[in-house]
Symmetry: C2
Subunit: 99 residues, 2 copies
Protein backbone atom coordinates (compact mmCIF):
# COMPACT_ATOMS: atom_id res chain seq x y z
CA UNK A 1 0.00 0.00 0.00
CA UNK A 2 0.98 3.62 -0.47
CA UNK A 3 -0.48 6.15 1.97
CA UNK A 4 -0.30 9.79 0.88
CA UNK A 5 -1.14 12.15 3.75
CA UNK A 6 -1.48 15.89 3.21
CA UNK A 7 -2.21 18.62 5.74
CA UNK A 8 -3.42 22.02 4.55
CA UNK A 9 -3.17 25.36 6.32
CA UNK A 10 -5.45 28.01 4.80
CA UNK A 11 -4.22 31.53 4.20
CA UNK A 12 -7.48 32.79 5.70
CA UNK A 13 -8.81 30.06 7.99
CA UNK A 14 -11.44 32.44 9.33
CA UNK A 15 -12.93 32.81 5.84
CA UNK A 16 -15.86 30.40 5.49
CA UNK A 17 -15.90 30.69 1.72
CA UNK A 18 -12.25 29.67 1.51
CA UNK A 19 -12.95 26.77 3.86
CA UNK A 20 -15.88 25.62 1.73
CA UNK A 21 -13.93 26.04 -1.51
CA UNK A 22 -11.04 23.91 -0.26
CA UNK A 23 -13.43 21.26 1.03
CA UNK A 24 -15.19 21.16 -2.35
CA UNK A 25 -11.84 20.82 -4.08
CA UNK A 26 -10.80 17.99 -1.78
CA UNK A 27 -14.12 16.23 -2.35
CA UNK A 28 -13.53 16.39 -6.11
CA UNK A 29 -10.47 14.19 -5.64
CA UNK A 30 -12.81 11.28 -4.90
CA UNK A 31 -13.35 11.14 -8.64
CA UNK A 32 -9.87 9.78 -9.28
CA UNK A 33 -10.26 6.05 -9.93
CA UNK A 34 -6.65 5.28 -9.06
CA UNK A 35 -7.34 6.01 -5.38
CA UNK A 36 -8.39 3.04 -3.23
CA UNK A 37 -9.64 5.03 -0.22
CA UNK A 38 -10.09 8.73 0.52
CA UNK A 39 -10.27 10.27 3.99
CA UNK A 40 -10.97 14.01 4.30
CA UNK A 41 -11.01 15.48 7.79
CA UNK A 42 -10.57 18.47 10.04
CA UNK A 43 -8.74 18.62 13.40
CA UNK A 44 -10.18 16.42 16.12
CA UNK A 45 -10.69 17.71 19.65
CA UNK A 46 -7.71 15.78 20.98
CA UNK A 47 -5.08 17.97 22.64
CA UNK A 48 -1.62 16.80 23.68
CA UNK A 49 1.80 18.36 23.08
CA UNK A 50 2.61 15.72 20.43
CA UNK A 51 -0.59 16.45 18.47
CA UNK A 52 -0.54 19.11 15.77
CA UNK A 53 -4.07 20.44 15.45
CA UNK A 54 -3.10 23.72 13.77
CA UNK A 55 -3.99 22.61 10.23
CA UNK A 56 -7.34 23.20 8.53
CA UNK A 57 -7.80 20.06 6.43
CA UNK A 58 -6.29 16.59 6.41
CA UNK A 59 -6.35 14.44 3.29
CA UNK A 60 -5.32 10.80 3.48
CA UNK A 61 -5.25 8.89 0.22
CA UNK A 62 -4.59 5.16 0.08
CA UNK A 63 -3.25 3.65 -3.14
CA UNK A 64 -2.48 0.08 -4.09
CA UNK A 65 1.09 1.05 -4.93
CA UNK A 66 3.37 3.92 -5.93
CA UNK A 67 2.35 3.58 -9.58
CA UNK A 68 -1.25 4.38 -8.66
CA UNK A 69 -0.04 7.37 -6.60
CA UNK A 70 2.06 8.58 -9.52
CA UNK A 71 -0.94 8.32 -11.83
CA UNK A 72 -2.95 10.41 -9.36
CA UNK A 73 -0.30 13.14 -9.30
CA UNK A 74 -0.74 13.75 -13.04
CA UNK A 75 -4.47 13.00 -13.17
CA UNK A 76 -6.55 15.89 -14.63
CA UNK A 77 -8.82 15.96 -11.57
CA UNK A 78 -5.84 16.38 -9.25
CA UNK A 79 -4.26 18.97 -11.47
CA UNK A 80 -7.52 20.92 -11.63
CA UNK A 81 -7.77 20.76 -7.83
CA UNK A 82 -4.29 22.26 -7.47
CA UNK A 83 -4.92 24.90 -10.14
CA UNK A 84 -8.18 25.99 -8.53
CA UNK A 85 -7.32 25.70 -4.85
CA UNK A 86 -3.58 26.35 -4.44
CA UNK A 87 -4.22 30.06 -3.88
CA UNK A 88 -6.29 29.17 -0.81
CA UNK A 89 -3.54 27.57 1.22
CA UNK A 90 -0.54 29.04 2.96
CA UNK A 91 1.20 25.75 3.52
CA UNK A 92 0.92 22.04 2.81
CA UNK A 93 2.80 19.28 4.58
CA UNK A 94 2.99 15.87 2.94
CA UNK A 95 4.04 12.45 4.23
CA UNK A 96 4.21 9.47 1.86
CA UNK A 97 4.48 6.00 3.38
CA UNK A 98 4.78 2.59 1.76
CA UNK A 99 4.22 -0.87 3.14
CA UNK B 1 -14.48 8.56 10.74
CA UNK B 2 -11.53 9.39 12.96
CA UNK B 3 -8.07 9.14 11.39
CA UNK B 4 -5.16 9.00 13.86
CA UNK B 5 -1.82 9.47 12.09
CA UNK B 6 1.48 9.08 13.94
CA UNK B 7 5.03 9.54 12.67
CA UNK B 8 7.94 8.07 14.62
CA UNK B 9 11.56 9.13 14.57
CA UNK B 10 13.88 6.53 16.11
CA UNK B 11 16.66 7.55 18.49
CA UNK B 12 18.96 5.24 16.57
CA UNK B 13 17.54 4.84 13.06
CA UNK B 14 20.70 3.05 11.94
CA UNK B 15 20.10 0.29 14.51
CA UNK B 16 18.33 -2.60 12.78
CA UNK B 17 17.26 -4.17 16.07
CA UNK B 18 15.54 -0.95 17.13
CA UNK B 19 13.87 -0.74 13.73
CA UNK B 20 12.62 -4.33 14.01
CA UNK B 21 11.47 -3.82 17.59
CA UNK B 22 9.42 -0.77 16.72
CA UNK B 23 7.92 -2.53 13.70
CA UNK B 24 6.96 -5.50 15.86
CA UNK B 25 5.39 -3.16 18.39
CA UNK B 26 3.42 -1.39 15.68
CA UNK B 27 2.26 -4.71 14.25
CA UNK B 28 0.96 -5.69 17.69
CA UNK B 29 -1.48 -2.78 17.49
CA UNK B 30 -3.43 -4.72 14.84
CA UNK B 31 -4.78 -6.75 17.76
CA UNK B 32 -6.92 -3.87 18.99
CA UNK B 33 -10.49 -4.61 17.89
CA UNK B 34 -11.59 -0.99 18.14
CA UNK B 35 -9.47 -0.10 15.07
CA UNK B 36 -11.22 -0.31 11.70
CA UNK B 37 -8.08 -0.16 9.52
CA UNK B 38 -4.34 -0.14 10.25
CA UNK B 39 -1.66 1.17 7.87
CA UNK B 40 1.99 0.79 8.87
CA UNK B 41 4.60 2.22 6.53
CA UNK B 42 8.05 3.65 6.00
CA UNK B 43 9.02 6.68 3.89
CA UNK B 44 8.28 6.39 0.18
CA UNK B 45 10.83 7.39 -2.43
CA UNK B 46 8.94 10.59 -3.27
CA UNK B 47 11.02 13.74 -2.84
CA UNK B 48 9.65 17.29 -2.96
CA UNK B 49 10.20 20.23 -0.59
CA UNK B 50 6.68 19.79 0.85
CA UNK B 51 7.27 16.11 1.66
CA UNK B 52 8.73 15.16 5.02
CA UNK B 53 10.51 11.84 4.58
CA UNK B 54 12.71 12.16 7.65
CA UNK B 55 10.60 9.88 9.87
CA UNK B 56 11.20 6.15 10.35
CA UNK B 57 7.67 4.76 10.66
CA UNK B 58 4.19 6.02 9.82
CA UNK B 59 1.13 4.61 11.55
CA UNK B 60 -2.33 5.50 10.28
CA UNK B 61 -5.25 4.17 12.29
CA UNK B 62 -8.83 4.58 11.13
CA UNK B 63 -11.62 4.44 13.69
CA UNK B 64 -15.38 4.64 13.32
CA UNK B 65 -15.48 7.59 15.71
CA UNK B 66 -13.65 9.37 18.52
CA UNK B 67 -15.08 6.95 21.09
CA UNK B 68 -13.31 4.06 19.36
CA UNK B 69 -10.09 6.09 19.27
CA UNK B 70 -10.43 6.88 22.97
CA UNK B 71 -10.92 3.19 23.74
CA UNK B 72 -7.73 2.44 21.78
CA UNK B 73 -5.74 4.96 23.80
CA UNK B 74 -6.42 3.09 27.03
CA UNK B 75 -6.42 -0.42 25.51
CA UNK B 76 -3.91 -2.80 27.16
CA UNK B 77 -2.30 -3.63 23.80
CA UNK B 78 -1.68 0.05 23.08
CA UNK B 79 -0.41 0.69 26.57
CA UNK B 80 1.95 -2.28 26.32
CA UNK B 81 3.22 -0.98 22.98
CA UNK B 82 4.03 2.41 24.52
CA UNK B 83 5.63 0.84 27.61
CA UNK B 84 7.83 -1.45 25.54
CA UNK B 85 8.70 0.84 22.62
CA UNK B 86 8.72 4.45 23.87
CA UNK B 87 12.42 4.22 24.68
CA UNK B 88 13.11 3.53 20.99
CA UNK B 89 11.83 6.82 19.62
CA UNK B 90 13.21 10.31 19.85
CA UNK B 91 10.07 12.01 18.64
CA UNK B 92 6.49 11.34 17.64
CA UNK B 93 4.22 13.67 15.70
CA UNK B 94 0.48 13.05 15.76
CA UNK B 95 -2.38 14.41 13.68
CA UNK B 96 -5.98 13.49 14.52
CA UNK B 97 -8.66 14.23 11.93
CA UNK B 98 -12.41 13.73 12.02
CA UNK B 99 -14.98 13.64 9.27
Amino acid sequence: MFVHTVFFWLKHPENRDDHSALRAGLESIRGVNEITTVYIGTPAETRRPVIDHSYDFALTLVFVDKAAHDAYQVHPIHQEFVAECAHLWERVQIYDAVS
